[in-house]
């Protein structure tokens, strides 16, 4: 099979591509639902009194929920469409968070994303893309960065 049939949809020109900055308020009801969805039973994650007793000012955002908040945009897959990535062929290859400050219910978080790397393997049958998100809160304080590695499977 020729490489042209496996033609990658991504090339180096994609690196540096920035998504539209996005802000979202953290809702405590969603945090409770998320805790339920992942089976988190620690009352700190669903009971405000327990959260305050543990030193939090409100219900805390759990470690992986920042990824979910970034998907609160009207169309969280808009950048796949814009970059020509077919959603059905996308797999999540990896995810890495670095935390700077806790985030809480009631906070308004700002997400700024950028594509930081692309590469391919197996003659383009597998393509990889890293999207970095930088998260700040309503005070402009750094909350976290997270890197999402996307894998695009092409038929062979």
């Amino acid at each position: 099979m020729s490489d042209t049939i496996r033609c990658p949809v991504l090339d180096d020109s994609v690196v540096g591509w920035r998504g539209r900055p996005f802000e979202v308020e953290v809702e405590k009801g969603r945090l409770r639902l998320f805790a339920k969805a992942i089976g988190e039973t620690d009352p700190v994650y669903h009971d405000e009194a327990a959260a305050r007793a543990a030193g939090h000012r409100a219900l805390p955002v759990p470690p992986t929920f920042l990824f979910c908040l970034e998907m609160e945009r009207d169309d969280p897959y808009d950048w796949f469409t814009e970059l020509g990535i077919p959603l059905g062929r996308v797999l999540h290859g990896g995810q890495a968070f670095t935390y700077h400050a806790p985030a809480y219910a009631g906070d308004t978080l700002r997400f700024e994303s950028e594509v930081t790397a692309v590469w391919h393997k197996k003659g383009g049958a597998l393509e990889f893309l890293v999207q970095r998100n930088v998260v700040t809160n309503q005070h402009g304080a750094a909350v976290a960065e997270f890197d999402r590695t996307v894998v695009i499977r092409h038929p062979t």
Partner: protein, 142 residues
């Protein structure tokens, strides 16, 4: 109130296992709830027709659900504020019926400036022993 308190650096050794979590087998209902709670509405996780049209035999679990389970191993061991970083690679898809065990193990102790830290290897393994996710976290101890 959470019963979780930060362990003392001196009391933790390389090779220590964190309390593991045995999760119930993955169901379609579980993925539907996670879909709504997470906001990740990719139909590959809930829509069998879409999954098949995409070349899969069935829907697959959200990788981030499995990562969240391994995150619970961390937050079951230390207060979340102690977690400095947390990364995961998704190595195999998690399917309906898979029963995941989430594990953590201390693999390194180090001092970073004022912080006394450990590196924890985290993983999610199914009932057949297949590793679904593998990653690590840096945790600051007391």
């Amino acid at each position: 109130m959470s019963s979780v308190t930060t362990p003392r650096y001196a009391d933790v050794a390389v090779g220590d296992a964190l309390p593991s979590l045995d999760l119930p087998p993955v169901t379609r209902a579980m993925l539907a709830v996670y879909c709504g709670a997470s906001g990740d509405h990719n139909p590959v996780h809930v829509d069998l027709d879409f999954a098949r049209a995409s070349g899969l035999d069935d829907v697959i679990a959200h990788g981030m659900l499995v990562m969240a389970w391994t995150g619970r191993v961390l937050t079951g061991w230390v207060p979340q504020s102690a977690i400095v970083s947390f990364d995961t690679r998704f190595l195999a898809v998690t399917r309906i019926g898979d029963a995941i065990t989430a594990r953590g193990e201390v693999i390194e102790k180090f001092v970073d400036g004022e912080r006394r830290c450990v590196r924890v290897a985290v993983s999610a393994v199914d009932q057949h022993g297949e590793t679904k996710t593998s990653g690590s976290a840096i945790v600051a101890l007391a």
